[in-house]
Amino acid sequence: MSQADNEIRDAYVELRGVNKRFGDFYASKNVNISIPKGRLVGLLGSSGSGKTTILRMIAGLETPDSGEIIIDGRVVNDIPGSERGVGFVFQSYALFRYMTVYDNIAFGLRVKKVDAATIDKRVRELLKLINCEGLDERFPSQLSGGQRQRVAFARALAPNPQLLLLDEPFAAIDAKVRLELRTWLRNMITQLGITSIFVTHDQDEAIEVADEIIVTNQGQIEQTGTPRELYVNPKTPFVASFIGNTQPVANYDRFRYFDSLGAGTRAIIRPEFVAVFKKGENQRFVKSAEQGVVEDVIFRGSNLEIKTRIHDVVISSTRSINDSILEPGEPVDVFIYRLIVVDGDKIVVQNNKSLKEESVFI
């Protein structure tokens, strides 16, 4: 994102040309971010991509080597984290083990010398908000993972921060509870209207929770956009291959209705770009479909993954469990809606030419 774009958006949090090095390791290379007020933003990247460093620099836990960090129009590089008006939820929550839930939540208010009655009111209010009324006398060790996460959330919110930072908020929770908490957290943050940034390596989590996703890779920002933008319109090869379930295909002009965009280019194909039909099944693409053979059928719970061999490549696609059953070895009709073609640093989305002007929905 260019400097000009930053100016246009009314940013609440901004990073301008931020660099950070740990020894020889560049954790941030010329990072520019701008986040509008009230937005719920996900920093998405694989481990070591620098996403946590960005979060920690915003919180004042790390100091950038160069560049500016701006919160609410104020350059905060030299302002300690406690005075930046941020709340931070740690990956492992960092709840104080020797304090009760009540004392944990009250901690941030007590150190600010708020009077006891106000503290009590605020803590009760937060306990109610996180559905943990009655747990105030417990110690963190007596809580479930989900409860700990919510207490950590309440503790960070207690001093009324304007910006909430969450480091891998769901990483330490088991899968079932994680899904509930995602929805809960999203609703909570939307309800409170607090600007929030969370770090995650899980693209499903980022896509589901965030209004906007910032994809990081090797210390740099690859792309910023809504989950849908990243999905439909990846701007860099990294984003194209990172988001979604992707498989690379060389010599993609072997597929009908797709042209090669030059030597050295390769294509990325996602399961949702591909439709597989049983022979004789009622479908739109009878004429333009290609011939494939089912290699494998994998039951995925909510759907079936079909691996089909076509022109000597095996590509994945999904089928509903309500569709007629396909058997391995069965000849099928395969239709590819689109490909993402990677040409050096450029990305071109190529639609199946037989679709002409028809609108395609992913």
Binding site: A59, P80, F88, A94, R97, A158, P159
Partner: protein
């Protein structure tokens, strides 16, 4: 213990338990029982008289008092030492870390002689204290405390150090973002984490100091009613071949040590309940 027929991963509970109990009995339990048997040679009245003569009574107080003060000093010094060893990098750190155990390895008499030499009114340190503050170290209770500090320091350092190493820096970061000062963070977040280890180090040092003999006899000067420690009273009875009296006093020492270690165990279990979540 759960009653279960399942085979444990470690083979032969029966045989390992048997070996453990045998060794424990031979090395610890039987010698301690012999203390009771020996002292039983005295009638209850004689026993009571032996352990409550004014000189012996005074020696308990000197032992307990000096040990308590020394262990308290050690708790602070040990915490500080463990802190710099864990939190800071400085040249010679590994060397310092290595010599912490020296008081364990050194014959305590050697330590006693060295410390006495240093702290008499003519010694390097003793001279400074005597000339400038008119404080005598050797041959006073202060000398005993100095010797006991030397003996007890590894207990506190080695108890606190591993716990301090394991404290996640996230706790401090969380406290600092919430606006806590460094002092507040230390007292309300780090110190509670260290407290069990500190109590345990203090208790071990305290128990060890009460029984310390070798280093103290040289520096204390053994002045009756002033600097005589309880282990010395036992030694002097032994030198008179009065085994029954010696073991009687020893029995009292044993009881004291038992109380100290029990208090420690109770405190530990109280504290660990919070963390383990078993209320």
């Amino acid at each position: 213990m759960k009653k279960s027929k399942r085979k444990s991963v470690i083979p032969g509970f029966g045989i390992t338990f048997g070996i453990t109990m045998t060794i424990l009995s031979v090395v610890v339990l039987i010698p301690l029982c012999s203390l009771v048997i020996f002292s039983a040679q005295l009638s209850p009245a004689e026993f009571f008289h032996t352990i409550t003569t004014p000189r012996v009574l005074k020696s308990y107080w000197i032992s307990i008092g000096c040990s308590f003060v020394a262990s308290t000093v050690n708790a602070f010094m040990g915490l500080a030492l463990a802190w710099i060893l864990v939190r800071y990098e400085f040249p010679g750190k590994r060397f310092v870390d290595g010599i912490i155990e020296l008081p364990f390895a050194l014959p305590t008499a050697v330590a006693g002689i060295a410390l006495t030499h240093m702290t008499t009114t003519n010694g390097w340190i003793g001279k400074v204290f005597f000339d400038f503050f008119n404080i005598r170290i050797a041959y006073t209770p202060l000398g005993i405390i100095v010797a006991l500090v030397f003996i007890g320091i590894p207990f506190v350092v080695r108890s606190v150090q591993p716990v301090l190493e394991k404290i996640d820096v996230q706790y401090e970061e969380a406290a600092s973002i919430l606006g806590a000062s460094r002092r507040k963070t230390f007292w309300s977040v780090i110190f509670p984490e260290l407290l069990p280890a500190l109590i345990s180090g203090f208790s071990l040092a305290f128990a060890r100091c009460i029984g310390e003999y070798g280093s103290v006899v040289f520096i204390s000067g053994n002045i009756p009613y002033k600097t005589e420690i309880a282990p010395l009273m036992i030694m002097s009875q032994l030198q008179e071949y009065d085994y029954a009296s010696a073991t009687s006093i020893a029995l009292v020492m044993l009881a004291i040590a038992f109380v100290i270690l029990s208090v420690n165990a109770i405190l530990q279990s109280m504290v660990s309940k919070r963390v383990s979540g078993i209320a």
